[in-house]
Point group: C3
């Protein structure tokens, strides 16, 4: 699978897919940069008057519900319907699902009303969405089910690929399940790294035809860059610029020898 | 008092208080990171439909009026009332009070309608709010009264702790007044460091029972980290990641020997 | 012209002009920092209730349509009219013009209804606005006319200074045309550097009396800082903090020997 992931990474650089983000205010800058460092193109646009037009230009749509309001959900639905009509994939990051009814209900609404290719969240968020318990404090997972059981259940319930990220990432389409062991502890010490991981998934989903493999590829490459970044950083603050450097300096060779993906 | 501050810092790490921010777009990412580096948990949420629910999960509520609109003020009032009902502290950063009527009036409205544990601002902002002159150009203090007189007056008028930050920080509850001499010149050369200082206050207020001491503790630890960061930076740009590193690498020992707090 | 540019840079530090930004969510933090590193003062304010009041305090108004909505355009028009009444310059960054009708139409509306001192964009954006073709994918230029022809045509059509930025920046007021050759490849690998360049223009336009020269001065100083930053960076991630460092460490002497501006 290493070679397949390296090949997908090369496709991102070759095709430069446009990733249309409707995302939260906290991470907009970082996720735009992650998109660029991976070789893709970012755009952030949320006005109801233009979201469908922007989705028309895009190769993938990323919906992220951090700092959401009902008006933004309407824009997400509008863009999502257009993406579904056009047949481009939609990736969902249900930030804070489980913390408040607004977030839980709207994450489920997006999953119900749209065809979502991949949903990525932490264990608490996806446990809640799968109806398997789960506890979220703010945007932090503080409890949930077994990651594999959660990913598989949510994937089957929603007909999607579900990615539970954590020390070990678990990705499932309900039939097949993968684990990714790349990453670094410092990813959990700065804000927005979950959102950045979702952006990495989106860039790879845009160029692949198997969302399960693309999701694992995005997470593995992101985690691999984090490992390299940690060597160049002195703490979480210098880790973020180093992470962007490392994403930019990924090569097919580094990916083939560095990604740690396992079929479960 | 050094030992007391070190002990509060340890409590932040132990309790991991959730800091609910309703804050401005410019600093959201930075203040989320400061929260994490200090050992607490951040969440940013402003939708009127969820702010009270999010405040229910939080240990402290931080209101910051940079980039405000009337709709955001309504959300701040809603969250603030819930925080007051629950008895968790509310910390206010009146960014740009004095620059426009919208900011001045709404900062005073928040102080009047809510029970505010700590208000932190620059000399111009807090001078305006205390009715002691003060001039603010954009978000920059360009004139004000004597810092101690301003802090004491505002604290008495509003029944709060007032923290005037600058080269020397002055914190008063109207009866007792403290000064903090930690910090570094580069804090004044990048955007958002005042907002970050308010976040540090919030994290400490969440775990302490004396808002005056907690406010001084937050400012002293933040300033101490800035001193350490300056040694690792080559200018204001590299200072910010270094500041987050230094906050993360604080220890009880560094705090006991490094904080410079004086009772006036 | 080198001496003239160095002199303008000194004036920015001396006068500390307030740059009122109504800008997009992605770059707010970075453009505030660029403003500070250049010696000016930033403020971000978009509420219709305060934009005119904030413009009253400002020395220049910067309008940037990334992440726009119709409500923000109304605020831009209100602030722009006040700026025009007061006779302070207005600088426009038409981010993504050409990508969607909302962006194209509103960029043209701002150009038509306001007196714009300088408009800066990439080749695709300004080609679209000049009616000379142009293709924009998200916020990326993927096609356009000849940069000089575009800058000159748009400047004449709109009675403004038009700056087309790219590997070589072309700036024209319709009668005179300049080229700036400062810059570095990494500027194209992170998000928001176009917006930062517009901020640099705004700071210089605030203190100069010839918008053409000021625009070239802002771009030359920004590009010069990028050249220096690249030497201190290990990739695009560490390039951004290094860029802010380099802007902060500019001196009149470095500018006189380093800027590369040519009259065409």
């Amino acid at each position: 699978m290493q070679q397949q992931i390296a090949s997908l990474w090369e496709q991102v650089h070759k095709q430069r897919p446009l990733v249309h983000h409707i995302t939260n205010f906290v991470v907009m800058n970082d996720t735009a940069n992650v998109t660029l460092q991976l070789g893709a193109l970012p755009v952030m646009a949320h006005a109801p008057e233009e979201v469908a037009d922007m989705t028309d230009l895009a190769s993938v749509l990323l919906l992220n519900i951090g700092t959401l309001t009902p008006a933004w959900i309407e824009s997400m639905l509008r863009a999502g319907r257009r993406a579904n009509e056009r047949g481009i994939p939609v990736v969902l990051d249900p930030v804070g699902a489980g913390a408040t009814p607004l977030r839980t209900e709207n994450a489920l609404r997006l999953l119900d009303e749209l065809d979502i290719a991949v949903v990525r969240g932490n264990l608490g968020e996806l446990s809640v969405l799968a109806g398997l318990g789960g506890e979220v404090r703010g945007v932090e997972s503080v409890g949930g089910g077994d990651a594999r059981a959660v990913a598989e259940a949510l994937a089957r319930q929603q007909g999607t690929v579900a990615a539970v990220t954590g020390k070990r990432d678990i990705i499932s389409d309900g039939a097949r399940t993968l684990a990714v062991d790349n990453g670094h502890h410092w990813l959990s010490t700065i804000t927005g790294t979950g959102c950045m991981a979702t952006t990495a998934i989106a860039a790879f989903v845009a160029v692949g035809d198997d969302a399960l493999i693309s999701a694992a590829a995005g997470l593995a490459c992101f985690g691999l860059a984090a490992e390299r970044a940690a060597e160049a950083a002195r703490g979480p603050g210098t880790f973020k610029p180093a992470l962007l450097d490392a994403l930019y300096h990924l090569t097919a060779e580094k990916i083939q020898t560095g990604v740690a993906v396992e079929r479960l």
